[in-house]
């Protein structure tokens, strides 16, 4: 009768199935939409290949150290962000609360971006693609005016998808098609995060690896397109003069920081499910390098396609001018081709200047088309969709592209949701007997209901606000307090010993120097530069207004005061938590020190409790 009961996990905490799942989850969290639509744009406007220099310096002194810190912290303390920071020191509990709030805010708007991606995805199954043709006007003699003045792609994005209002103060109504897509997106997120890392660990195999496959396919296809080489040369030609502009260094630092998804608490949550004896140092370096290489790898197809698009636009411009000239001068067809266009133009200009002036020809310059740089949603939903129409077999390319964007975004959402879910699980908000599925269901349902505001007509303006204010400044502040908290309050000697116990080697000089001095200093400089830049001019946005004189250019508007107040609130609220909680505990400590029966706070170290 030797009934040996099964040995339970030491503390009942779920674990990763294998190391690869953990690394893949961290990579998936870090690699997101920004790698595809922000990094290539920054490369382009900041001197091509030269941008890589400040980028790698920032990675070395800011990205990798902070990443290692977070992973080591999570692995050592085996708790989510709230519990971890409370354990390090009660005065630093605000850091955990701050990063939890930021995770919530970012999850809300990030999934709405995925809603747009899903909308485009389900519209890609039509022939012809709905963003390739303009709808007709009422009497069927021409195209819809708004569509005709801008382009069909712009019309589909601004009118058919967003149904955007000309001003942020005009909220408009909820768009039912976006609500359907939003519900689907949150259902998918719920499906994948239903049991925490048990389910995301399986889903990540698909969502983290699939984008690389699609990027490779686009790479091969992109390189065969005409004009691709022009785009690539334009992207990568280094222009070292741009390095003199401090803005370039700031952009590199912020790109590294935001791209690695630091200070969200998600990385701490991921690492907390690791066994204690795990080499977090190697993991951190691996994740950071893979993230950067992915950014570089994604730039190549993006810029091949952009070069192709610029070349096609250039050829269209030339063709239109050629038709006008041929009509005007009654020349035989095919007498003027693209190749001899410039010689013809100079000849005609010298012989008949008035006629040429009367034609009002647009000047066609390839550089000008290449210079039209776009980042963010504009790149994916306007520029890229336009390029896809021009490719043969557009439906397949569109479907592939949007599934890739969806996977990229979804794997980042897993990290965000984990940053919200794990601390709540530890707080025991729901009774222990209730299943985990209930908590994740509640989180997804509440987030869906709040995110309905983003499906209003003015929703995309609000998403821009959230992106600029909630997802930027608070992260810098929280990261700064993370580093200084661990180094100066928890004391780096203690932390070094903990890391040594976990990795089996002593912390070398690089980590000591960066953690102690370089990273906090760099974060402080970046934060101050960032805030100074924002405060230089009143916060403004560009609105899509069909009644604007300069239409199809977007109208520059200033935020009304109540919106500005919301911006400040979004940025300040997570940051305020840090000093507030510290103050609260200080006051509590003062009250307690007057009480003789007070117990001094427990000294904690990683080797001890695993509760």
């Amino acid at each position: 009768l030797s009934a040996t009961p099964a040995i339970p996990k030491e503390d009942g905490r779920p674990q990763w199935d294998n190391k690869f799942q953990y690394i893949l989850s961290c990579i998936g969290f870090a690699v997101g939409l920004g790698n595809v639509w922000r990094f290539p744009y920054l490369c382009q406007i900041h001197g091509g290949g030269a941008f890589l220099i400040p980028y790698f310096i920032a990675l070395l002194f800011e990205g990798i150290p902070l990443l290692h810190l977070e992973l080591a912290l999570g692995q050592c303390l085996r708790k989510g962000s709230l519990g971890a920071w409370n354990t390090i020191s009660p005065y630093l509990g605000g850091v955990g609360i701050g990063s939890w709030i930021v995770s919530v805010l970012v999850s809300l708007y990030y999934n709405t971006v995925l809603t747009w991606v899903m909308w485009y995805f389900i519209n890609s199954f039509q022939e012809p693609l709905p963003w390739s043709v303009c709808p007709l006007n009422e009497n069927r003699t021409g195209f819809n005016e708004e569509c005709y003045e801008s382009t069909a792609v712009n019309y589909f994005w601004y009118r058919k998808t967003l149904n955007i209002t000309p001003d942020i103060a005009e909220s408009g109504t909820l768009q039912w098609w976006l609500i359907l897509c939003l519900a689907t997106c949150w259902a998918i997120v719920y499906l994948c995060t239903i049991r925490g890392i048990e389910t995301t660990g399986k889903a990540i195999y698909v969502t983290a690896i699939f984008p690389y496959l699609v990027l490779t396919i686009f790479l091969i296809q992109g390189l065969t397109l005409p004009g691709a080489t022009d785009g690539l040369i334009y992207l990568f030609t280094p222009n070292l003069n741009t390095l003199k502009n401090p803005r370039v260094w700031l952009d590199a630092a912020t790109q590294v920081f935001f791209s690695l998804s630091l200070a969200f608490g998600g990385l701490i949550a991921f690492a907390s499910y690791n066994p204690t004896k795990n080499d977090c140092e190697k993991d951190a370096v691996t994740v950071a390098i893979v993230n950067s290489l992915t950014s570089l790898y994604a730039s190549i197809p993006v810029f091949s396609v952009l070069g192709f698009k610029a070349t096609t636009a250039y050829w269209d411009c030339l063709d239109r001018n050629i038709i006008n000239i041929i009509n005007e001068f009654d020349l035989p067809e095919e007498s003027i081709m693209r190749q001899n266009y410039t010689s013809w133009i100079s000849y005609l200009n010298s012989s008949y200047p008035e006629k040429i002036a009367g034609l009002k020809l647009k000047s066609c310059d390839l550089q000008e088309f290449l210079d039209q740089s776009v980042s963010g949603t504009g790149l994916a939903f306007i520029v890229f969709t336009q390029a896809i129409i021009l490719m043969p077999g557009s439906q397949a390319w569109a479907i592939l592209f949007f599934i890739m964007l969806f996977s990229l975004g979804l794997s980042s959402m897993f990290g965000n949701i984990e940053g919200v879910f794990t601390p709540l699980l530890e707080l025991r908000i729901i009774p222990k007997s209730a299943p985990k599925e209930l908590l994740s269901g509640i989180i997804c349902l509440i987030s869906f209901l709040i995110a309905l505001c983003f499906t209003l007509d003015s929703g995309s303006y609000w998403i821009d606000i959230f992106d600029r204010y909630a997802g930027s400044v608070p992260l810098l502040v929280i990261a700064f307090f993370e580093v200084t908290g661990v180094v100066y309050i928890y004391k780096i000697k203690r932390f070094s010993k903990d890391v040594e116990k976990m990795t089996g080697r002593k912390l070398n000089l690089y980590w000591q120097i960066t953690w102690r001095f370089i990273s906090p200093l760099l974060l402080l400089i970046v934060f101050m530069a960032f805030v100074t830049l924002q405060l230089q001019k009143p916060p403004s946005y560009t609105a899509w207004n069909p009644k604007y004189e300069g239409f199809p250019m977007k109208e520059e508007k200033v935020y009304p005061p109540w919106v500005q107040a919301i911006c400040v609130l979004l940025a300040a609220f997570p940051c305020i938590c840090v000093p507030l909680v510290a103050l609260f505990h200080l006051v509590k400590q003062k009250c307690r020190s007057k009480d003789p029966s007070s117990v001094p706070p427990q000294v904690f170290s990683c080797q001890g409790a695993n509760s």
Binding site: M118, W119, T141, A187, P332, P435
Partner: protein, 182 residues
């Protein structure tokens, strides 16, 4: 194909045909259509005369309307399209894109949603089943442990033994006299 006198003849015939269909007068002849200013890149002016009245030209609006009505036939005769065969000042009536009764995107959306909901239901149900099984397993184990907790001493449960002061073994105790007294 090259533009020659035969093609011009065909064009005149098409215009005459259009005029006949439009005004339902069968009096327009090919000779009523006059071309002028023909250039090499194939562009020309044309007028339609009315032979019933005294060699006057048919008003332009009538000709425009006739051509607009039969544009498709004229294009097909020359194997061209609205873009390649241009009538200046006649805007073409555009046909709207074909739209199926249910928008395609709704169908795709329905498919995606069904898959996701099926997945969620499957996971929730399997979670509940695992929970029940774990509960059943843990109650079974509790029963097992209860039996095991009864400690055994040489095969006899301890409670049955009277462990107060030990037992006197009757075999040895009976023979008091055998021991030598000190």
């Amino acid at each position: 194909y090259a533009w020659d006198a035969n093609e011009e003849y065909l064009f005149k015939a098409m215009v005459a045909f259009a005029m006949r269909r439009y005004s339902s007068k069968s009096t327009t002849q090919i000779s009523n259509v006059l071309l002028c200013n023909v250039t090499d890149r194939v562009s020309f002016w044309f007028v339609v005369t009315d032979s019933s009245k005294n060699v006057t030209t048919v008003p332009g609006s009538e000709v425009e309307a006739a051509i607009r009505m039969n544009r498709n036939r004229i294009n097909s005769a020359f194997l061209l399209s609205d873009k390649t065969l241009q009538f200046l000042k006649i805007t073409s009536t555009l046909s709207p894109p074909v739209e199926p009764s249910t928008p395609v995107w709704l169908i795709v959306f329905g498919v995606v949603l069904c898959l996701v909901v099926a997945g969620i239901i499957f996971l929730v149900v399997s979670g509940i089943q695992k929970h029940k099984k774990k509960n059943k397993d843990s109650t079974e184990r509790e029963n097992l442990e209860e039996k095991v907790e009864v400690t055994l001493e040489n095969g006899i449960p301890c409670e049955a033994l009277d462990l107060k002061a030990g037992h006197i073994n009757g075999v040895f105790a009976a023979d008091d006299e055998r021991f030598t007294s000190l």
